[in-house]
Amino acid sequence: MYDKIQEKMSIYDKLHILSDAAKYDVACTSSGVDRKGDGRGMGNCSSAGICHSFSADGRCVSLLKILFTNECIYDCKYCINRSSNDVLRTSFTPEEVCTLTMEFYRRNYIEGLFLSSGVLKSPDYTMELIYATLYQLRHVYHFQGYIHVKTIPGADAEIIKRVGFLADRMSVNLELPTAEGLKLLAPHKNRRNILAPMRLVQNKANENKQEIALYKNTPQFVPAGQSTQMIIGATPETDFQILNVAESLYKKFELKRVFYSAFVPVNKECSLLPKRTEEGPPLLREHRLYQADWLLRFYHFEAQELLDEKNPNFNIFLDPKCNWALKHLEYFPVEVNRADYRMLLRVPGIGCKSASRIVKARRFGNLRFEDLKKMGVVLKRALYFLTCSGKMLYPVKVEEDYITRNLLRTKEKLPDSMTYQQLSLFDDMGFGEKQARQIVSQS
């Protein structure tokens, strides 16, 4: 039947089905590798990544994000392609994927290919198909753009390694933050099967780095590193648990990115999943997790500084950095002209770039608040935590309630049409609307 469907369906319909099925995958980044074109084919890569469009949900479109096939032998409760779902099934041929990638790429629509797949017949069989596609793209079409490929859990180590030499980034989805959640919602997958290929890719990549140090022309293995993603809000984990999982993934598996995906109920009839048809996906929670993730990776924070057993969830109203600063007012205010780089990083309103600009510019003389503004410091937030030559910008009290009240008045810039009125969003964080109101009236 599979072959019959494939013959009948136009490339237009296939693309529709297989991109629709891939859209819940979060990562669409093309970052992590710098590569010049070799002049004989097409493509190059830029390590900061390049977005080429933004879809109606505000997410970046960087890669041609498709499934190779939406056939699947697994039956994961949260997934639209679960084997028990009655959806139209189809598969690309390697040739079709290559043509689409090349033609989109030369019109500057995309930065490369993100190839994921349902499990057709067996993990090995699927991985072979993916390998055939990437091989053709790299060696027949001489494509030097970005390729991100999903590792199919359970596939043989040898085929995973071969794919790794053709791809820039590989990822295995962690799916759910804890092993219990996975057992409940994805009965055919287990934690060990997911972590094994992650470890394999990590070890191989480290080995490869040493080889490259010795022999310059060694082919590169997954040069842009690994990433993973987990679904937020389908199972009852706290933010503290999730952040700890992310931290250990960064430390133990040397992942480049962990992505968080607010749970969208696509299989509405399932009794194991939370019903949230009216509330919509927990977007603010996802946003807070990304903010905290940034603090872990670039601001030298640790998970246990941001949350703990007693406060296991992020503050709805304040971003994690402001929240941390308010609980540690003993460090503030910080003197801009003297504080070290790491301390500057901890000041709300100062980012990595502005902190390094401050450190360089102050060698030429004392900085004033108007200079900070030009360097990109967000003063409306930073002013409560900074002094310039001993003076604060306005006479403010360094006091938790006072600063909280004022910070809330400035309104944080949220990425969405999210507003503070959408209190129903917070229910899943253990905050009821009533509790949320209490917090407001407290301040």
Binding site: I11, Y12, L15, H16, S19, D20, A22, K23, Y24, K36, G37, G39, R40, G41, M42, G43, N44, S46, I50, C51, H52, S53, F54, S55, A56, D57, G58, R59, C60, V61, L64, K65, L100, E103, F104, R106, R107, N108, Y109, A262, V264, G280, P281, L283, R357, K360, A361, R363, F364, G365, L367, R368, D371, K374, M375, P415, D416, S417
Partner: protein, 254 residues
């Protein structure tokens, strides 16, 4: 009386003006203004600059050697800006750099107003250039040439030429800057160059190849299906991809 050096809005013009200003007033006061983008001031003496490649190369060399490659890039980007004060900002930054013990650190000296201005302009140009690296769309014409037209505020073509030439070494492509009426031209396996004083033939640039419409349709199809309905968010989309870029992007056409 302050001397004001008047020049065309090109890199050669601006560098030539800086050359003259530097020769006569490297310690004193002088201003640089761009023809067609200036407000006449009282108590100033205006003089038109004689532009030449030789002067331009001398200034370029002066900056590269004394301020270093990084600062050179920032000054160069600032000069591509649409801002009328760009010549002054660059000239005054060069004067300030002379006073420093290590002139190469000039761009770290952000508490100086001219340096801050150069920093701001250069960042603005670099940001716009980056947006076009992202959002430029090519269409394949009947003759196989990839064609694109854009309407940037700053003169960003030279900032993106290298990127696309490296990316598409085997393609013939052209980018037309509608605002400044300049072409960027790339012939396969050759270096890119700018072409002034020509306009595209309306007929030729709309005569697309047979496959073109099909791929455009496939792209629109992909673009619309990839969005998640439950997360719809036009404000966020507009933040990342401002409306002004959308006119030349097929996924935002009908």
């Amino acid at each position: 009386m302050t001397d004001v050096y008047l020049c065309c809005d090109t890199i050669t013009g601006l560098y030539s003006a800086i050359y003259d200003a530097w020769r006569e007033h490297r310690e004193g006061e002088a201003k640089i203004a761009v023809q067609g983008n200036m407000e006449p001031e009282l108590f100033c003496e205006y003089q038109e600059v004689k532009e030449s490649q030789k002067k331009a190369r001398a200034v370029e060399q002066l900056i590269r050697v004394n301020l270093g490659e990084e600062a050179y890039k920032e000054l160069y980007y600032a000069l591509l800006s649409k801002d009328a004060g760009k010549g002054n900002a660059v000239f005054w930054t060069m004067q300030e750099a002379r006073k420093l013990k290590d002139s190469r650190k000039i761009m770290e000296h952000l508490d100086h107003p001219a340096v801050a201005k150069v920093f701001e302009l250069s960042r603005n140009v670099a940001n716009e250039a980056h947006c076009f690296i992202e959002f430029i769309r090519f269409r394949e014409l009947k003759n196989g040439i990839l064609f694109s037209e854009i309407a940037p505020k700053n003169q960003i073509l030279t900032c993106i030429g290298e990127h696309f030439a490296d990316r598409f070494p085997l393609e013939n492509f052209m980018i037309f800057d509608k605002t400044h009426q300049v072409f960027l031209v790339h012939k396969e396996k050759s270096p890119w160059y700018l072409l002034w004083g020509e306009v595209p033939s309306e007929e030729a640039i709309h005569c697309v190849s047979d496959k073109e419409l099909e791929y455009e349709k496939l792209w629109k199809n992909f673009f619309h299906t990839i969005a998640i309905e439950e997360r719809k968010n036009p404000a966020c989309q507009r933040n990342h991809l401002p409306i002004r870029y959308r006119a030349d992007m097929p996924e935002f056409g009908e």
